[in-house]
């Protein structure tokens, strides 16, 4: 079989004989006011080369001075990822590239600040984190001509505004086995970043950049086969597509008696495929050594305790707390926490609202936020509906009005004239309708359930939506005996 025939795009189903092995490296830009080693503004979208100084331009004689806020943010993130925070040192990673002003990157190598943590996915799965280390970002190159590659470019424009922006690189263990888990991991990391406030975590602006290391192995095996690193992934959707594509490409290569090469590949979202970049076989030797211009970071036990004490509730803990309070599955709470409505839900439960109604309304009717809704008005509304004082349609209507005005559900229901109609009123309406539409009723009686909606609709129209649709259905079925 030739390689061209081994096009993984033609295969739309997963072959269970193979297991994906995914590890993610996520670069997170810390949302500090200034850069990691100088006082220049850390901001996105300014005119090129305006946020620069001798230090972040790497001018001869300049020296770095550590941004304490960046270190503090990095340690906060580390603790939020359940990492151990260690005394750490910076190292130089040496390689030539024009957007790297010193032709070395200051990063952490064998002694990172954060190590051995994990992220708990909404499904409850724990994904191990090897390390989360501090490093400086590079500038941004734009290669003109030659297909955008540096080796063939006519010339290259470099913007050093990003050079020296503080990053934390979060490195997972290679323990994810589906693109869904990989996406959930990145989404969860993003939520943790937003909860702690250490990054704005915008994939599209590059403040959160995901590289995926992908390989496959025969299901049941524990080996780690040759991996490829996929770069240029700019959204969660791209992440899923890129992983699926890459894993299938590997399987196709193995199936054809070939094997993948270890390399860096670039995801092309428009084309829906990855393309080879630099081969890792002839990778640079980075000649790491301890950065002599900086002193070691030595956080004290008190520093770490202070960070822990100030830690906001994290998404996984919030999901667990809500699941416990509502007595539901963990997965049922994911959307509530994602919408940041778990505090409202817990308050409503405490005020006596039934969990099912609380979760249902948050999922279906509060996508745009709670507005002027409070836990108490929410609890009152859900309870009214549960007691049959409001129909589902009425409840949705009243909820929308509480969100807008903040008024209590009883007042709104009364103003709208919403009172649950009892069965006898509906029976009278139904009698009238059967009399007006005998043919339709005959069809219904013969088993044509499609005309059921016709009668329900007529009653809803007559009652201006105050009738309970479920009750009308029940009454109609009852008349059939």
């Amino acid at each position: 079989m030739s390689k061209s025939q081994a096009n993984p795009n033609k295969d739309s189903t997963w072959n269970d004989e193979w297991q994906m092995v995914i590890g993610l490296e996520v670069h997170v830009e810390l949302d500090t006011k200034t850069k990691l080693f100088c006082g220049c503004a850390n901001s996105f979208g300014n005119a090129p080369n305006t946020n620069t100084c001798p230090t972040c331009l790497g001018l001869p004689g300049s020296l770095p001075v550590i941004n304490e806020t960046a270190v503090s943010y990095a340690m906060q993130l580390g603790r939020a990822l359940h990492c151990d925070v260690h005394p750490s040192i910076f190292a130089r990673k040496n390689y030539f590239y024009p957007d790297m002003p010193k032709d070395y990157q200051v990063t952490q190598y064998d002694q990172p600040t954060n190590a051995d943590g994990h992220i708990t996915l909404p499904s409850g799965k724990q994904i191990g984190i090897e390390r989360a280390h501090i490093e400086e970002d590079t500038g941004k190159s734009t290669h003109i001509g030659g297909g955008g590659r540096i080796s063939d470019a006519t010339y290259t424009l470099v913007d050093y505004n990003r050079a020296g922006v503080p990053l934390v690189e979060v490195v997972s263990n290679p323990v994810m086995h589906s693109s869904e888990d990989a996406r959930a991991y990145v989404a969860e990391l993003r939520d943790i970043l937003l909860a702690t406030g250490v990054s704005d975590a915008k994939m599209e602006e590059g403040s959160m950049r995901v590289d995926a290391n992908v390989s496959v192995r025969p299901t049941g095996s524990n080996e780690l086969r040759t991996r490829c690193e996929i770069k240029n992934i700019n959204s969660l959707r791209s992440l899923g597509r890129a992983i699926e594509y890459e894993a299938r490409r590997h399987i196709a290569l193995y199936d054809s008696g070939d094997a993948p090469r270890q390399e860096t590949r670039h995801w092309d979202e428009a084309a829906g495929r990855s393309r080879p970049g630099r081969s890792k076989e002839d990778a640079d030797d980075y000649r790491y050594f301890a950065e002599p211009d900086l002193v070691p970071l030595a956080p004290t036990a008190d520093d770490i305790a202070a960070i822990d004490a100030a830690m906001p509730a994290l998404p996984a803990e919030r999901r667990q707390a809500l699941a416990d309070a509502a007595s539901v599955e963990l997965s049922a709470t994911a959307l509530v926490v994602e919408r940041n409505l778990d505090a409202m839900a817990l308050g409503s439960l405490e005020a006596g609202a039934p969990a099912a109604g609380v979760l249902k309304h948050i999922e279906n009717n509060l996508a745009d936020g709670p507005g002027k809704l409070t836990a108490d008005t929410f609890a009152a509304l859900v309870s009214m509906e549960a007691q049959g004082d409001l129909t589902a349609t009425q409840a949705k209507d009243v909820l929308a009005e509480i969100v807008e005005t903040g008024a209590g559900p009883k007042v709104i229901a009364a103003a709208k004239g919403f009172e649950a109609m009892d069965a006898s009123e509906l029976e009278i309406l139904l009698d009238g309708l059967i009399a007006e539409h005998p043919q339709e009723w005959a069809r219904f009686a013969e088993g044509d359930r499609k005309v059921q909606g016709f009668f329900v609709g007529k009653i809803m129209k007559a009652t201006q939506g105050q009738a309970d649709g479920k009750m009308v259905n029940a009454l109609m079925m009852a008349r059939l005996g």
Binding site: G61, N94, P292, D293
Partner: protein
């Protein structure tokens, strides 16, 4: 032409209005005019800027304003200290024409103290050398004998003071680059404790070893400069926090009771007999002044050379990566960026710089790191431990500054033979401890001989007390 004046006396006279800063400057500029063609101490003389600075000092004195302790004192700056808007080259073609947009902290502090910067002095390219023969802009000659080298790498700064172009100058010392040329030119030269003087704006050779220090004719002038430039700088993360010692205040302290150790491992056959007898004479003088003298073994001191020539090139290979033709300095155009980097560096760096970049790159490479860089760092730790142990028994140590006095041009064509020049000075850079060279007599050729005084970290006060006593003992 007036006779030599010390920085201390110039500053006192200028402050008292007995002489103008401008007149002092013109005296020195006249000497430069007369002899610079022969010596080549400077890459650049900034006469006009110096004149306006001197006039400004005079105007402040006339207006009754307060001026600093170095008011009106001309100072020459090694051309690896950044000076705002003034060409700073490291005596390398790769930086020729580069004008920094900022001043080194040392340059700002000298200016705040009232000193008048008169120019940028020649050096071995990127401070890599011991003779100033490695400058891309031609060698500097020793003013005491122009057939001989002034030492290096701060040879231009040493020659500028030795030729009385300036009473004081600033150098940088990575493995002896202040102390060795001071010894060769008959001057006082200081390598302070690592971190005592800010490195901000000093163009790096080997960051963990580089330290800035002064040249002068007298110990008191060196102390005056140190008092102006030492002290914490928030722009240098390795800068020592806390107050710097006042060295001008300790020059008349007694040495009686001090314990002085002669490092016997630096008194062997590698050292010229004249160097050894200068050390013994210095020891005898200190003993006569009430100090006790003993011998001390630092067996690893001689291993320092090997460790140094791994650590320094390793750091240099990284520090000098930025000279890639992209942002500043020399660019030699080529077909693509990688080839442009290569062509620029090939044309811009001299042989010694290339040799050390290759040595350092090799020492840091995967598979060799542990054997070279890792081992060198262990040797460094051992040397520091031996010195720490020696300082339990002694307050200061003494040794020759150099194995020989100033040699003739071209005498050390073998790089390793040249590296041997740093044998006595390197240990202090590896440990971070302070050391200084004071002139102590002459050898058979009439060339000056330097004695090195070594002290524990932040031991500058006792070091300067001993230096002042050695100076007095020759008066």
């Amino acid at each position: 032409m007036t006779s030599r004046r010390s920085a201390v006396s110039i500053a006192a006279d200028v402050r008292a209005g007995r002489v103008s800063a401008r007149d002092v400057l013109e005296e020195h500029l006249a000497r430069i005019d007369a002899r610079e063609g022969e010596i080549n101490a400077f890459n650049l003389v900034t006469a006009e800027a110096a004149r306006s600075e001197a006039d400004a000092v005079d105007a402040r004195i006339a207006a009754g304003e307060k001026v600093g302790p170095l008011a009106g004192v001309p100072v020459a700056l090694k051309d690896n200290m950044c000076t705002k808007g003034v060409e700073t080259t490291c005596s390398s073609k790769i930086l020729e024409g580069w004008k920094p947009p900022y001043n080194a902290t040392v340059v700002d502090r000298l200016r705040e103290a009232g000193a008048i910067a008169i120019g940028k002095t020649n050096l071995d390219e990127f401070a890599m050398g011991s003779s100033t023969e490695n400058s891309a802009f031609g060698p500097t000659r020793n003013p005491l004998d122009v057939s001989r080298v002034p030492g290096g790498s701060s040879g231009g700064s040493a020659a500028a003071v030795a030729a009385d172009f300036a009473p004081i100058s600033i150098g940088s010392d990575t493995g002896g680059s202040v102390r060795q040329p001071a010894a060769f030119c008959g001057l006082v030269g200081v390598k302070p404790t690592y971190g005592l003087v800010s490195r901000y704006g000093l163009i790096a050779f080997a960051s963990s070893l580089d330290q800035i220090g002064p040249f002068s004719h007298t110990v008191a002038d060196a102390a005056l400069v140190m008092d102006s430039i030492a002290g914490h700088d928030p722009l240098d993360s390795t800068s020592i926090t806390g107050a710097a010692p006042s060295l001008s205040a300790v020059l008349n302290s007694a040495v009686s009771g001090l314990r002085v150790g002669i490092i016997s491992d630096l008194m062997g056959d590698e050292m010229d007999p004249d160097m050894r007898s200068a050390v013994n004479n210095a020891g005898a003088a200190l003993e006569a002044a009430g100090a006790s003298i003993g011998e001390v073994r630092i067996p690893t001191a001689l291993s320092g050379l090997g460790a140094y020539y791994v650590v320094a090139p390793a750091e240099a290979s990284s520090n000098l990566a930025r000279y890639d033709g992209v942002r500043y300095g020399l660019r030699v155009d080529a077909a693509n960026t990688g080839l442009m980097n290569e062509a620029s560096r090939t044309a811009g760096f001299g042989d010694e710089v290339k040799r050390r970049i290759m040595l350092g790159t090799y020492a840091l490479s995967a598979g060799y790191f542990d054997a070279y860089y890792g081992s060198a760092q262990k040797v460094r730790t051992l040397i520091a431990a031996e010195f720490a142990s020696a300082y339990e028994d002694f307050d200061v140590l003494i040794s020759p500054t150099t194995p020989t006095s100033a040699f003739e041009f071209g005498a050390k064509s073998d790089p390793v033979e040249m590296y041997m020049n740093d044998l006595c000075t390197i240990p202090s850079n590896l440990t971070g401890d302070p050391a200084m060279s004071v002139p102590y007599g002459t050898d058979d050729n009439g060339m000056p001989v330097g004695v090195q005084i070594l002290a524990p970290t932040m031991g500058e006060t006792v070091m300067f007390t001993v230096a002042a006593e050695l100076e007095r003992s020759q008066a």
